[in-house]
């Protein structure tokens, strides 16, 4: 099981730690060659403008789209949700509003129920978080907060407004790894 974590900027290291603790091999993705042979790909949080520029300067967009075209699983968290949207890599049929909840002083953590992913709610950390503004018909909303979608899925792509990796809870990573196994089978 090889799961790549985009490592151009942001909170990639802590995703790798979670992957390690569930026994998956986490691969730092900085160059196109790192994308070869991955069972899944995580687009982590960070600054979406910085990450977008990093994807461009490292020439990673094409490889990520190929990964997506083969319907291999992708998980975007926070900035990763933005990077995956219609206006960026176009991996999922949504538009997002950046910093939708406000600046850092409005950042927060809360319980979020994710039916189909975890049995009981997860503690979710929202850091200058986005929400989903518009979504296509084939996008499923997994969770809403304050009237806006904060967890969505379309086929192989799952996007979360928040950071499941900032709490000591491996359940979302374990669920994602399970999807990666199935997609390989």
């Amino acid at each position: 099981m090889r799961i790549g974590v985009l490592a151009v900027q942001g909170g990639f290291a802590v995703h790798l730690t979670h992957l390690g603790s569930i026994g998956a091999a986490g691969i730092e993705v900085r160059a196109p060659a790192d994308l070869r042979g991955l069972d899944g790909l995580i687009l982590p949080g960070g600054e979406s403008t910085t990450i977008s520029k990093g994807i461009e300067s490292a020439g990673l967009a094409e490889g990520i789209r190929e990964h997506h075209a083969e319907r291999r699983p992708i998980l975007g968290t926070c900035a990763g949700m933005i990077v995956a949207d219609r206006d960026h890599l176009g991996l999922i049929d949504i538009t997002t509003r950046r910093n939708a909840f406000g600046r850092q002083l409005a950042s927060f953590e809360d319980e979020i129920a994710l039916p189909g992913i975890t049995d009981s709610p997860v503690r979710a950390v929202f850091i200058r978080a986005p929400w989903v503004e518009q979504l296509g018909d084939s996008v499923e909303v997994l969770a809403e907060l304050r009237g806006h979608p904060v967890a969505v899925r379309q086929e192989n792509v799952t996007a979360l407004s928040f950071h499941p990796e900032l709490v000591g809870d491996d359940r979302i990573h374990a669920w994602f790894a399970g999807r990666c196994v199935r997609s390989r089978a």
Partner: protein, 294 residues
Amino acid sequence: MAEEATFRVKTGLAEMLKGGVIMDVVDADQARIAEEAGACAVMALERVPADIRADGGVARMSNPKVIREIQATVSIPVMAKARIGHFAEAQVLQSLNVDYIDESEVLTPADEFNHIDKFEFDAPFVCGATNLGEALRRIGEGAAMIRSKGEAGTGNIVEAVRHMREITSGIRKLTTLTSTELPTAAKNLAAPLDLVRDVAGRGWLPVPVFCAGGIATPADAALMMQLGAEGNFVGSGIFKSDDPDRRARAIVEATTHFSDPERVAEASEQLGEAMPGIEMSALGDDGRLAGRGW
């Protein structure tokens, strides 16, 4: 139940800045250049450190008007500096909704004995440290991010290297001690015992550690990342160079691809002159900023 300003929320933003470059800017135009070049955040200040050194006088928090203009111009996080111990400046910065407050030795200290009680604030703080004990004292006061205290405005990386090595080797030493030995280590570090135990257990600080002070070239940025920095602050090095836009991009590139010398070489080509540097021996003891704070 939703909770704001928890320690996890405060360190969470610093986690998201990792692998990135935070650039000093003095106005909205510079902030725009920084964001376009790929900065993950900007630090709003009145004068860059090289000018503070050259001009002398008391250096204070930025004018709130400039901070607001910068916030209105860029969508990336905006940080700002308060003087060491000047909690009223920090209150003002918090009221301006800045994303991180830097209690900084680059400004003239307001209190020679006490740092700000950072637990009193909802805004997260980053503080400078020259060694592990100092880093843990700042975390003990509520800092959610640590940076080295390299000599700002000199374009000389030597002090930041010293601080990063002091911090990382200090951590490594702690991990070799038994639980019986940790209280004495805490005494020698002049650091809170609970934090010493925490660091000994996890082998790293409980908050992200960035480099600050003296970065002038892409290779400087790559050096600091390889020495354990989780991201870089760059001050005078960008806007005191010949071509700030290109240099900013190059330093961002080198921070991401720090372990790939070919990428760092590529980023370093076609750059104009770096900022002129200053030898530490030319500063004298009074000229050193790292001695501010304890």
